[in-house]
């Protein structure tokens, strides 16, 4: 009887969810950045113009769904800390609109289907990289590093750096220095981006017990670490130009955008309020879009 009541309660909870809750599980804002950088990787890869439109579209759908699926599994694992953080407490699982196990199932099914479809429909190199990004985000970042070390997003950031490499591999079927340079660009961009966020969401992370760098090493140390990565970003963003993947137009744009990135970071160091960190966080999102857009425009 008790079991029946428990089952009815579970069914009622999950039945209360609608399609928008499942879309929220897929983290659409993160997905948009993944799709954009993935498409840019595809666009600049040699041979893109001869790739069939439907195959290119399939690669993008698989990339989007796989990123979303990893996000759903992340929400399942982090449901306890999501409930105590202001930024995440309205997510479907802590709000009780989607059953946790159903979210996990949804994530696993989408992960497997997207990798297999990428393999069958596009190529197996892209599928392997897609699987690696998923495994890295779920197991290395979410389960292993996030709650254990302040370097969680330094190493875990690799998961978000895969999309341009996947896009490139979808066209060429291989991994090259040029696609590795795009991987490195996002990998080095990730720490200052997330640390800018953690500077003004510090209390939220403390409450959840996540050892973000400002909570563990202090605000000053975090800002100096951020500057180290920001400085490294400048030569890295120029790599496509030096490798011959992009021309002078891109080189100048990347130089200007990266120089301004360093400037916003310098303001964060000099300013003791949250304002500059918020500005830098906003600019960092714009920066990634702008660099990849410049890369695409350069290829036209």
């Amino acid at each position: 009887m008790q079991k029946t009541m428990a089952m009815t309660s579970t069914i009622t909870t999950s039945a209360d969810s609608d399609a928008s809750d499942y879309i929220a599980l897929l983290k659409p804002r993160v997905m948009s950045l993944v799709v954009f950088t993935g498409f840019a990787g595809m666009w600049v890869a040699p041979g893109f113009s001869s790739l069939h439109t439907l195959i290119a579209l399939t690669a993008m759908i698989c990339l989007a769904l796989n990123a979303g699926a990893a996000g759903a599994i992340n929400m399942w694992f982090d449901r306890d800390i999501d409930a105590v953080m202001k930024r995440t407490k309205n997510r479907p699982i802590p709000q009780g609109r989607v059953d946790a196990d159903e979210a996990l199932g949804f994530g696993i099914v989408l992960s497997v289907l997207s990798v297999l479809t990428m393999g069958v429909g596009v190529n197996w190199t892209a599928a392997l990289l897609l699987a690696a990004a998923n495994v890295f985000y779920v197991f290395v970042y979410t389960i292993w590093l996030k709650r254990r070390t302040p370097h969680n997003i330094v190493i875990g950031g690799a998961a978000g750096a895969f999309p341009p490499m996947i896009g490139w591999a979808a066209v060429t079927g291989d991994v090259s220095w040029a696609s590795l340079a795009l991987f490195a660009l996002i990998f080095i961009w990730t720490p200052p981006h997330f640390w800018a966020l953690s500077l003004f969401a510090n209390e939220d992370y403390k409450r959840a017990g996540i050892p973000m760098l400002p909570c563990v090493a202090g605000v000053r140390t975090t800002k100096i670490h951020m500057m180290g990565y920001s400085l490294l970003l400048l030569p890295l963003s120029m790599a496509p130009y030096f490798l011959g993947t992009a021309g002078m137009g891109y080189g100048i744009s990347a130089l200007a955008l990266s120089a301004f990135f360093i400037f916003t970071n310098a303001r964060v160091i000099l300013d003791n309020t949250d304002k500059s960190a918020r500005l830098m966080f906003g600019y960092s999102v714009f920066y990634l879009f702008a660099v990849f857009l410049a890369l695409m425009i350069d290829k036209v």
């Binding site: 069914i11 009622t12 039945a15 209360d16 969810s17 609608d18 399609a19 499942y22 069939h52 439907l54 195959i55 399939t58 289907l113 479809t117 069958v120 429909g121």
Partner: protein, 40 residues
């Protein structure tokens, strides 16, 4: 079996899942056709 409240509540989700499966099958079929044409 009578249509219960749960059936009604889950109708939208079931329709979306059904359509997604159909779309996936259609996609795999179309890609197979494209790959066969290019291989030929």
């Amino acid at each position: 079996m009578p249509i219960s409240d749960i059936h009604r509540k889950k109708r939208q989700k079931n329709i979306i899942v059904g359509l997604s499966i159909l779309a996936w099958v259609a996609l795999i079929w179309a890609i197979t056709m494209i790959k066969m044409t290019h291989a030929g």
